[in-house]
């Protein structure tokens, strides 16, 4: 978890960004469900479990952003491997641009960078 955060606040912030994070992680390399949970944990969100990730993956499959392929395993059960589709990559690019713009604005506000004229008008 990101240091110094209230867990509830962290969960609220993550709610709007987790699908984007999953797409980004899957765009690096396809993964099966549990593997993706581990990647999310290593990325800095160890409290986000399968119970949260699997329904999101299901939604992204429904939206055509992620595809799943069942791979036979020589040792052990078959595995579903999730990969980002072309539509998913395009959506990730849009979301990334939107996120970066959002972070810029929030960063400016937090740094007190709002022009003084605008502040005096409010």
């Amino acid at each position: 978890m990101i240091a110094g955060e209230d867990p509830d606040r962290q969960a609220q912030l993550l709610r709007g960004a987790l699908d984007m994070c999953l797409l980004a992680l899957l765009s690096e390399q396809p993964a099966h469900g549990y593997e993706l949970v581990q990647r999310v944990g290593v990325a800095g969100f160890p409290s986000v479990g399968y119970g949260t990730i699997y329904p999101l993956l299901t939604r992204m499959r429904r939206l055509g952003l992620v595809a799943q392929e069942v791979q036979n395993s020589p040792a052990g059960p078959d595995r579903k491997v999730y990969a980002v589709t072309e539509a998913g990559r395009a959506r990730l690019a849009d979301w990334t641009a939107q996120w970066n713009g959002f972070v810029d604005v929030v960063g400016r506000v937090l740094a007190g960078g709002v022009p003084s004229e605008t502040r005096s008008q409010q």
Partner: protein, 216 residues
């Protein structure tokens, strides 16, 4: 919790939510693949899901976009019960009215006596049928905006008489065991048994209409 137990718990919740059979099977098969793969990696199902399986199952249905219908058991049972009460009151009047008309039309011999079970069957059966009609009409009219209510009403019409075949003999046995007492506690118990039986039939009817609805 084993993979089978997790799947069974999730499937039970999907069934309760009114998810169609085919969608339940697809969701379960998908989930099973993931849970079995994780188990092969040494992570049991309960550790992987890490929480209430029913909450997880609900969330999964919402995110998957599967069309499901909220069961609304309480609302449907209450409406059917209210309709049945109105129907039963109307039934008493109708049966009494029909009886009076028959008395006027047919001049039966003074020593004519209908067998008691037949007379009781016609009397209570008549009231019961009109009460059932009241329940079905009440549900159809008052809950017409509720999805799959037509199938539910049809199922109520079929299941209630079947349920009555079980419940009525039980009530008769109870009445006999209590020497046909008219004490308030005994009568209230008999009424409660009738209500419980009817509520059970209505709940089963709704459940059936949701879990066996035609695929769209």
């Amino acid at each position: 919790m084993t993979v089978d137990q997790a799947i069974t718990a999730a499937a039970r919740e999907w069934r309760r939510l009114g998810v169609p059979t085919r969608d339940r099977q697809t969701l379960a098969a998908d989930l099973r693949l993931d849970l079995e793969a994780a188990l092969a990696d040494g992570v049991p199902a309960d550790q992987l899901i890490d929480g209430d399986v029913t909450v997880f199952a609900r969330r999964l249905v919402e995110e998957s976009g599967v069309r499901h219908i909220p069961p609304r058991y309480g609302q449907i049972v209450a409406t059917a019960l209210a309709g049945a009460v109105v129907g039963a009151l109307a039934g008493v009047l109708v049966v009494a009215g029909v009886y009076m008309i028959l008395v006027r039309l047919f001049n039966l011999p003074g020593d004519f006596n209908a067998p008691a079970p037949l007379a009781a069957g016609i009397y209570y059966g008549g009231i019961g049928l009109i009460a059932l009609a009241g329940a079905v009409i009440g549900v159809l009219l008052l809950l017409r905006h509720v999805p799959a209510i037509g199938r539910t009403a049809a199922a109520i019409a079929v299941l209630t008489p079947l349920c009555a075949l079980v419940v009525v003999p039980l009530i008769m046995l109870f009445a006999r065991a209590t020497d046909y007492s008219t004490e308030i506690a005994i009568v209230l118990t008999e009424v409660a048994l009738s209500i419980i039986g009817f509520a059970a039939a209505t709940t089963m009817a709704r459940r059936w209409s949701l879990t066996h609805r035609p695929e769209s």
